[in-house]
Structures are given as C-alpha cells and as structure tokens.
Symmetry: C2
Subunit: 310 residues, 2 copies
C-alpha cells in the first residue's frame, strides 16, 4: 500500500434542474488537488496551498472532518498529513466543499487498501458537508465520489445512491459575484407544493433519468425544467431568466440553478456550443454590471481518483 | 390494406407505486379482443360479445368515442363495424376502458395503413378515457399502446410519452369486490404535499426508472414505495396493508394500489412467486369476508397488436 497519494477531486452540479436534493453530475474540471500522506501520529494536519484562507483546524475544515469520521472506523492508530490545493473556488456553486471532502476520503481509502465501500466514503464525506452547510447531504458528494450522473435515492435507513452513466455532454457554468447564502436560498423554498405541480416535477425527473440512460439529448432538454425550486429562487438571482433565454438561443440543451445558486449551469452537446453559451451568459451579467466567472468543461465519467501513488 | 383485423389489447397497471399520474405498465394478459371491419357507411356500429352490458352507442362507449376522434382526422368518408369481447372485467382496476379504447384505434390504424403515429393514437384513445372517467389521462392508454413500462412526461403542449423496456416480471393483481368510485379515490388526495415528502417521492421515481432500465430488481423493490397517494387511499381499501405484508413475505418485489384502486398489484421475479403472492393476497380478503379475483400474468412487451388480418 502506498504511503502517499495524489487525488484529483472534481467540481459537481447538484439538483440539476428538476431533481432538487436528489440529482448530481460530475464535471471533469475544475478539480481540487489533494495530497494525503500516512502518519504514525494520530489525527489530521492540514495545509492549504491556495489563497482562500480556509480553516486548517481539522475539526473546522470539511476535508479534515471527513477524515476524522473515517479514522474513527480504522482500528489501527494512525493519522494523516493533508495538503489541499483548491482548484474550485469556494462558494462558486459547483460543489467546492464536497470536492475537498470527497477527495480526502478517496485518498485515505487508497492508503488503506480500499477497505471502505463507496457508500461508506459518501457517509464520511457527508460529515464534511455538515460542517460546511449545517446539513448532511450527498447531492454533491455522490457525483464527486461515483462520477457521472447520480441519484441520491435515500440517506435513511441506509445510504442508497444510484450511479448512472452520463452521455458526452459539455457543461457551461456562470458564477455571478452575488452574495447568496445557502440559508437564504433555503428560506425561500415553499413548505408545501400543489400535488399537480409535484406530479409534473416527478414526470420530469423520470424523463431526465431516461434521457441520461438513453443518451437522448432532446429528452434531457425537455425534462430539465424545475417547476418548484427555481421559481422560488428566481428573485434571488438577477439575470437568471435572461441568461437562460440567451443560453438556449446559443444552442444549450437546457439548464438551471447550480446547487442553491447563484451559479447557473447549462448542458450542451459540444465544447464549441458550451463556450458560446458560457459567453452568452457572461454577457448578461456584464450588462447588469455584475462580475462573473465562467467555467466550461466536459461531464466527468469518474469521480475523485488517485492520479499518483508514492 | 386489410378490410378487417383482430386485435388483442392488454390490461395495464397505472401509477405503479410512486409514479402517480405518470407511470404505466402493460401486462401480457388478460386482454380485450377487438374485431374491426372497414365500412362504407360513415360512423361506428358496436357489438359487445360479453356479459357486461356496456353501452353500444358509440358516443357513450369508450372504444366508440376513440374511433370517432380518429375518424375526424381521416379525409375519406368511411366507418367501422366494431365487435368487442371484453377479456378484462370492467372496473377491475387494470385499465379495462383503456384496453378497449387503445385496441380500437390500433385496429383502425392497421385498416388505414398505419398512417397515424403512436402519439396520435394515444391522443384519440384518451378521448375514450375522458368518457369513462371524466378526465383525459394517458397513464393506462400509454402502456396499452406502447407496451412495456411507460412514462407520461407531459400531455401539454404536446403528448410526450417515453416508452421503456421492462425486464422479465410477473404481476399478481388482486381485485377485491369493494365498491370504490374513481371520484371518491380522487377526493381523498391531498391538495398540497410537504416539499420534503415530494422530494422523497421523486427520489423513488428516479430509482424506479433506473431500476427498470438496468433490470435491477432490488432497486425496483426499494423504489416502488408511494409516500403521498397510497397513505391517503389506505383507509378506502381494507386489507391493503395486510395484503402487502403477506405479499412481501411470499417473495414479492414490491407493489401498491393499481390505478385508483381497489385492486392491488405486486411485481415478482417468477411465475411461481406471483402465484404464491396472488394466493396470499387472496387469503387476506377471504379472511375479511370480501370476495376477490386474482390475476397472474407476465409483463407485456407489446401493447395492443394485430393478431389476424382479413
């Protein structure tokens, strides 16, 4: 077994239109780079090789908390030296905290001869998400660990994640520099939804799963629409409606809010379309005088993975 | 083109657990037998070769109404002689009216050189359902026409039905002789549902689609549960909870209310299990002093189909 591994852990989209709290999709890039080294000294020591001033106290760092949860299940006394280089900007709405937590436990599992299942790794990494957002949720963790398109069917009584293949797709994400706290994004959600609207939503959920599994791009496009969560969050993200209109005009298949926002994602058939769609969405925010970052990349078929062993 | 055709049009399950108003599944049997013959006399004449005293006025007969809707789209002046032998008992909760309506339009399409698409046939047959239940709905019509497992993603702005393969499965259906009007079944539905419960429901919807497409029987079983509609209808169907308990004990994968009830379906891996499950459910109603019929049959890979041309 190696003493040290290098892991790339990717950005992810959660919710994915109609699949609030359930769907996730892995990107191939950007990714966090994680170096994890076995140590005889118990506990976790963290260094951040990036400019984001994230906490290095393991009890307050998402990757540290995930590793501490994993270490509780390891009988031997051991510890880890963890170096994180964030390739995913924190708060960018593409699963930054999930990438660090997932990458750390995938790295630890490699150092331990892969003794844990992916479901167990999700369980550990969710402890990191709980520190980041106050809630144990797996919608970004699942694609960060399994890759492709994921369905979090249940967390109780057991974690039940369905990992599905995704057809070739290019993602364009625009991250407008709007302050939007996850807690505020949660506050606008309706407590109840009309039954008829819920039915339309799960009809789209069924269509999106079938569309991904059959690589039917038109069906994916028709099924992405979210009738429940996006309408509630629309007022929080100026430019969202216009960005969607221009993205579709530029050839996007469809899209929506990434996670709890403010980032917006669009799925596309080709890299060229994704670039045009990213530029079109960026233009909307430029006109509004809101700075933004645009990412374009292919869907990732693998989740966090070891790229080097020493 | 033939002058006369014989069509078998199968029983179907709608809702299918978590997929209220969206999912459907075709059975191979029982089926209605429909003889349709071209006539130079406009309009539709109907004969029923069964003991159910169904209306023979085409404007009040589900198959007649469906044929009249189709005839409106045929430029030439023509009519049909229709003979129906119901193999599916009306009111048995396995899509009896849908089978007659779907079978009639599939037969007419064969007499017309299959000039209509399956989506158009669904549209015509839904007119028959509207006469039977007061609402245009396609959850039984879709599997009766496409076969296999179907998703009614939308009826507006266009009919959008996704036809998916179903893995080998045996269905056991018990039809207790309880009077339960569709309108009463509708009345108990909640107007709104808590968002958290809607999320759990669409997580199961996603799981069930993936389970069918991957032929993953365990996933199908875990995903069938309906958190919204079945709890509301449970008080209307005495014996439902106990029938489910005994069906699962006898080896069923899972199940629920068929359509709006009172029939109960269970999916099974083998014919032997389906027989045992049917007997176990029948036993529950026998103990309650409620007469019931039990059907056991395989899932149908085709919908209504021509079996003879003259």
């Amino acid at each position: 077994m190696p003493d040290s591994v290098l892991v790339h852990s990717p950005a992810t989209l959660s919710n994915l239109g109609c699949g609030f709290d359930v769907f996730g999709l892995a990107l191939a890039a950007p990714y966090d780079t994680i170096r994890l080294t076995r140590s005889a000294t118990p506990g976790v020591r963290i260094q951040h090789l990036d400019p984001y001033n994230l906490p290095t106290d393991p009890a307050r760092n998402v990757a540290g908390v995930a590793l501490l949860a994993l270490l509780k299940q390891v009988p031997e006394e051991m510890g880890f030296e963890l170096e994180i280089t964030k390739g995913i900007k924190p708060g960018s709405g593409v699963g930054s905290s999930a990438a660090s937590a997932a990458g750390a436990v995938v790295a630890a599992n490699a150092l331990l001869g892969n003794c844990f299942s992916k479901m167990q790794l999700v369980d550990f990494a969710m402890e990191g998400e709980a520190v980041a957002s106050g809630a144990r949720h797996a919608d970004n963790i699942a694609p960060a660990i399994f890759g492709g398109f994921t369905v979090v069917r249940a967390l109780e009584p057991a974690i039940d994640i369905i990992a599905l293949p995704a057809p070739p797709l290019w993602v364009a994400v625009v991250h407008p520099q709007i302050e939007l706290k996850t807690s505020d994004s949660r506050k606008v959600l309706p407590a109840t939804v009309p039954l008829g609207l819920a039915v339309r939503q799960w009809a789209n959920v069924a269509g999106l799963v079938a569309g991904f599994m059959m690589a039917d791009y038109d069906l994916i496009g028709r099924s992405l629409d979210d009738y429940i969560v996006e309408p509630a969050r629309l007022p929080l993200i100026p430019g969202l409606a216009e960005a969607r209109t221009r993205a579709l005009a530029a050839g996007a298949i469809g899209g929506g809010i990434s996670g709890s926002g403010p980032s917006i994602f669009m799925l596309n058939r080709t890299e060229a379309t994704a670039q045009a769609v990213g530029a079109a969405m960026g233009g909307v925010f430029a006109e509004l005088g809101i700075a933004c970052n645009v990412y374009v990349g292919p869907v990732g078929t693998t989740g966090a993975r070891v790229v080097e062993e020493d």
